[in-house]
């Protein structure tokens, strides 16, 4: 709790100064990034009294460009990580200190209310990720806290949004090392699992994994209830005819987003969103064709009789 209060205080201070990414403007002179943004780092070894150069652990290298574009770019490293990290060599026990979780800041705050973090958490707790790995499966497993950028909010290109979203899943599901961190078992690649899916590449480019692998919630921007693979959508017709699972939530979201960018009447009318596949429910299609051709046939018969009678 003490830690949390300190963190909050830092954040408040930080916001009150209206900071915007100034911490990372010059990585080479940043206390942490001068080492953690480089492949190698140098330090003075007091014991040997010599300058030493070593390789940086690749998992601890921060991509400063992504960091500056991420949502958290206006927090300094020590806003979240312990201030004691400013000394080197870092104290070993620092690794065991608990970190603040996403919900420590994002839950119960009115300015984040519209993103419904509590509901996201509720949905997440129903997911296979939580059921299998519990609290070890943190938000950060998918949403990299250093680099996260809300692509669905910033991009108007569906392909871009899909790519960004799918990268999150694939960062583990297509990476044996990261996958084993969570599951402890080796898995065949995503491509083999989806062998049954026609036009696999096209699907992966245009459809988010979560369209088939989560329970759809229209009011959430993204449903976090990731289902087990047995419960994933496998029937083509679910998306291609019978249901608009596809895009239902993205449609809502994109629509609101475009209006936020251009709230004028003309902007609203030029909104190009469209609910894919929702209009082609097979039974309705058959009924409508029957009605349509029935109408035409009725008119044709009636017209024929009118012409015959007139000729008489």
């Amino acid at each position: 709790m003490k830690y949390f209060t300190f963190l909050l205080l830092l954040i408040l201070l930080n916001l009150s100064f209206g900071a915007s990414g100034q911490y990372y403007d010059d990585p080479k002179n940043h206390d942490c990034l001068k080492c953690h943004s480089q492949q190698t780092y140098s330090f003075h070894n007091d014991m040997l009294d010599s300058e030493q150069k070593r390789l940086m652990n690749p998992y601890l290298i921060i991509d400063t460009i992504q960091l500056r574009n991420g949502v958290h770019h206006n927090f300094d490293c020590t806003d979240c990580h312990s201030y004691d990290y400013t000394t080197y060599p870092h104290i070993a026990t620092l690794k065991l200190e608990p970190m603040a979780t996403c919900l420590d800041c994002h839950a119960g705050d009115e300015s984040f209310a519209k993103y419904e973090f509590e509901k996201i958490d509720e949905e997440f707790q129903k997911s296979v990720h939580y059921k299998d790995y519990g609290d070890n499966f943190t938000c950060a497993k998918c949403h990299n806290q250093h680099y996260y950028s809300p692509s669905a909010r910033n991009s108007s290109s569906v392909v871009e949004i899909v790519e960004y979203s799918n990268k999150m899943c694939l960062s583990c599901h297509n990476d044996m090392k990261k996958f084993s961190l969570v599951s402890g078992e080796a898995k065949p690649t995503v491509v083999t699992i989806h062998d049954w899916l026609p036009n696999q590449e096209l699907h992966f480019q245009h459809v988010r994994c979560i369209e088939c692998h989560t329970a759809v919630e229209d009011d959430l921007m993204v449903s976090h209830n990731v289902l087990s693979k047995e419960n994933a959508v496998r029937r083509c017709a679910e998306c291609h005819s019978a249901n608009s699972m596809l895009k239902a939530s993205l449609y809502k979201y994109q629509n609101l987003q475009e209006r936020a960018e251009d709230g004028t009447v003309l902007g609203m009318l030029s909104n190009e969103n469209y609910v894919i596949g929702s209009h082609q429910i097979p039974i309705l299609k058959i009924i409508s064709l029957i009605i349509f051709f029935g109408t035409l046939a009725g008119i044709a018969i009636h017209l024929t009789f009118r012409i015959i009678i007139k000729k008489k």
């Binding site: 759809v216 249901n243 608009s244 239902a248 609203m268 969103n273 609910v275 008119i299 009636h302 009118r306």
Partner: protein, 205 residues
Amino acid sequence: MSSENKIYFYPLWLRIWHGINALGIILLIITGISMNSGFEQSVISFKLIITVHNYAGVIVMLNYFLYLFGNLFTSNKKFYIVKPKNFLKRPMKQAYYYAWGMFHGMKSPYPLSEKRKFNPLQKYTYIAVMYFVVPLVIITGIGLMFPELIFNKIYNISGVLITAVTHSAMGFFISIFLIIHLYIASIGKSPLDNFRSIFNGWHHV
């Protein structure tokens, strides 16, 4: 207003409404069908089709208020009053006339006059279309334009889906109405007579 077998059935406001509505609905049907069929590679781009559909939709909606207020504030509303007596018999009789009677020398059972602009079948259809189907297509259209207004779910079915399906189903009924409307309009003094009437306002009886 009437003179020698002619009645001034269609005042100017009504003709303006009808004209805008006709063009708007035709545009909506064409763009609506092309969206449903999902041709991405057509002469007009898919995105433009959606934009045209949005514009036409809003124009038809605003125009609908002209129809509503026109009927509210002029005497035109009296033509829509339904008599409870023989509620079903009257339209049936008209249907029988269209299907059988008119080919066997029967006189129109409900000849049009100063007091009667629509035959019963026509009246019922217009009421259903103008006060049920069209408002529903407008409301669902607004829902699709402002999806935050749509309820999230009804029994596990997405609200966006229900709204979209209702929208296209109602659009479909309007298309069927249009086909029948155009055909029945050709049953007049001459096949083109009624089409002339909606331009000049005078109906031949």
